[in-house]
């Protein structure tokens, strides 16, 4: 089954660039990605630019509305994702717990819909 692991964190918390913790933190991501690749679980995964770069679009009455900023103003924002192929939820949850940001933010695990 495919699971989307959505990585949420508060921007500006957790290890920041230029600090001693940042190197090992990023290495943690590289190790995790490699581990998922080796296990044949990695479908894809990316980090996102900060929410200051976000633009939200909605079409109402046939008209496209463009708004500066994220869809919802929340304390924790989506910062990246992994799409993994895992045998079951327990395995996906274990993988999610290994994502470095899980120590500072949260990872939401969502199964991907299988269209019949």
């Amino acid at each position: 089954m495919q699971y989307m692991l959505l990585i949420y964190g508060q921007e500006g918390t957790g290890p920041q660039p230029g600090t001693d913790e940042f190197g090992p933190f990023m290495q943690g991501y590289m190790d995790f990605t490699q581990k998922m690749k080796d296990a044949g679980k990695l479908v894809s995964g990316d980090a996102l630019q900060p929410i200051a770069t976000a633009t939200t679009v909605a079409v109402r009455d046939g008209k496209s509305e463009t708004l500066d900023g994220p869809f919802a103003e929340t304390k924790e924002q989506l910062g990246g994702y992994y799409l993994l192929d895992c045998p079951d939820l327990d395995d996906a949850l274990k993988c999610a717990a290994e994502i470095p940001t899980a120590k500072y933010g949260r990872v939401e695990v969502r199964p991907v819909v299988i269209w019949d």
């Binding site: 089954m1 895992c86 079951d88 939820l89 327990d90 199964p111 299988i114 019949d116």
Partner: protein
């Protein structure tokens, strides 16, 4: 040949006693909870229709499984969805289609997988409780709804959501990984204890709520049978048996809750006390005691005391201390303060209670005020005690508790 009425009674009993085992076996072979449950319902309908005409099979449980498998195959064939694509499952069901209906076969026991699946932490806690009662207890949706004072439709929607999540989220029907076993077993014990407390502290005295107590004890027995080396499973079963041994003595003729000192000990169920006591001893001999075993040990000390005054209060205070270390929780300390007041006098109890309420967190907590009121009354501080009783009464939810506290207040203010 049996008349339909008797067949119905037999099927009802079979479902009551064997539902969990039969359903677990079906989920294990189909890998799909919803399909297994629907197919078993189909098989039940077939039994009610066929058994009065053809006679009851020699092994009704084996018959149910075989027929349910065929019904599952029919359902897969009819459905246009993902189920149809699971060709492995179809093949397996095909191969077992012609298993003799009436063969004395060993039904492998998959109830443990079922318990862990129903109590998976990815499900909401109330749904875990409901699903456990449904899948292992064989309770109907209406019965579960009745037990929780919910509408049947609300409970049905909750169960549907939970089953949907089992399937859609890929919650596997399997035992937890060894490294997760400890936490996952804790979650299972918690669900069983929630079922027990829901019935034990029920405020409406409905029969269905008493059934929850029996159901929790039954699940506790199943779990101790499946996990013979688990001390806390034994501790929990002991705690439930000992608590339930006082069932008939806990309520006065006026319906008010009776505290231990007012209970007629002759009405305690000695068989449950013996069984619970033996289980505590075994649990305690298996290593460091967990919270359930410690609470059961406290309950056993009460159960085996000849009278309220003859209770081993210093030992109970010590056990609450161990429990509070393991499970820092205000109710544990409040109970400890009450026990201390009988071991060393009400002033000692009050002093402990005062150390708890440093940050006003317990101000909205009924047991705190009830305990405080009792200690103040015993110290002769009647005005203060009456004020605490009034606060406790205003916070009490269950009518038994309100009645008990009001009786106490009346006794205090009586001339």
């Amino acid at each position: 040949m049996l008349p339909p009425v008797e067949v119905r009674a037999l099927v009802t009993r079979l479902i009551r006693e064997d539902w969990g085992r039969i359903l677990s076996s079906l989920v294990s072979s189909t890998g799909d909870y919803g399909l297994a449950e629907d197919s078993l319902q189909d098989a039940v309908v077939s039994a009610l229709e066929q058994w009065p005409r053809k006679g009851v099979p020699r092994h009704p449980d084996a018959w149910m499984i075989t027929v349910a498998r065929r019904k599952a195959l029919d359902r897969i064939r009819r459905s246009q969805t993902a189920l149809r694509k699971s060709s492995d499952l179809t093949l397996w069901l095909e191969q077992h289609r012609n298993d003799p209906e009436d063969r004395a076969m060993m039904i492998p026991d998959h109830r443990l997988e079922m318990i862990y699946t129903c109590c998976h932490p990815a499900l909401e806690e109330k749904s875990r409780v409901a699903l456990t009662l449904r899948a292992l207890g064989g309770l109907t949706t209406a019965e579960i709804a009745g037990a929780f004072l919910d509408k049947t439709e609300t409970m049905a929607a909750r169960l549907t959501r939970a089953k949907k999540k089992l399937r859609a989220a890929g919650i596997a029907f399997k035992l937890p990984e060894p490294e997760d076993l400890h936490d996952r077993t804790d979650a299972v014990l918690r669900v069983i204890y929630l079922i027990f407390t829901e019935g034990h502290w029920s405020s409406d005295g409905q029969m269905s709520r008493t059934d929850l107590v029996n159901e929790a004890i039954r699940l506790g027995r199943i779990l101790t049978g499946l996990l013979p080396d688990h001390a806390e499973a034994k501790g929990l079963l002991a705690l439930m048996l000992l608590g339930d041994s006082r069932r008939l003595a806990r309520k006065g003729d006026d319906g008010a809750f009776l505290p231990l000192e007012a209970q007629n000990r002759a009405r305690w169920d000695r068989a449950k006390i013996r069984e619970g006591g033996a289980l505590v001893e075994t649990a305690l001999s298996m290593g460091p005691a967990g919270p359930y075993a410690i609470q059961a040990a406290i309950s056993a000390l009460h159960a085996n005391a000849a009278s309220f005054t003859a209770t081993d209060w210093p030992q109970i205070v010590a056990l609450y201390e161990v429990l509070a270390q393991r499970q820092p929780n205000p109710i544990v300390r409040i109970n400890q303060a009450a026990a201390l007041s009988y071991a060393k006098g009400p002033q000692a109890g009050l002093s402990l209670l005062d150390t708890l309420c440093v940050d006003d967190k317990l101000n909205g907590y009924q047991p705190y005020h009830a305990c405080r009121a009792d200690l103040l009354a015993r110290l002769g501080r009647r005005q203060d005690a009456a004020a605490s009783y009034r606060t406790a009464i205003s916070l009490a939810v269950a009518p038994e508790d309100k009645a008990f506290l009001s009786n106490r207040l009346r006794a205090l203010t009586a001339p």
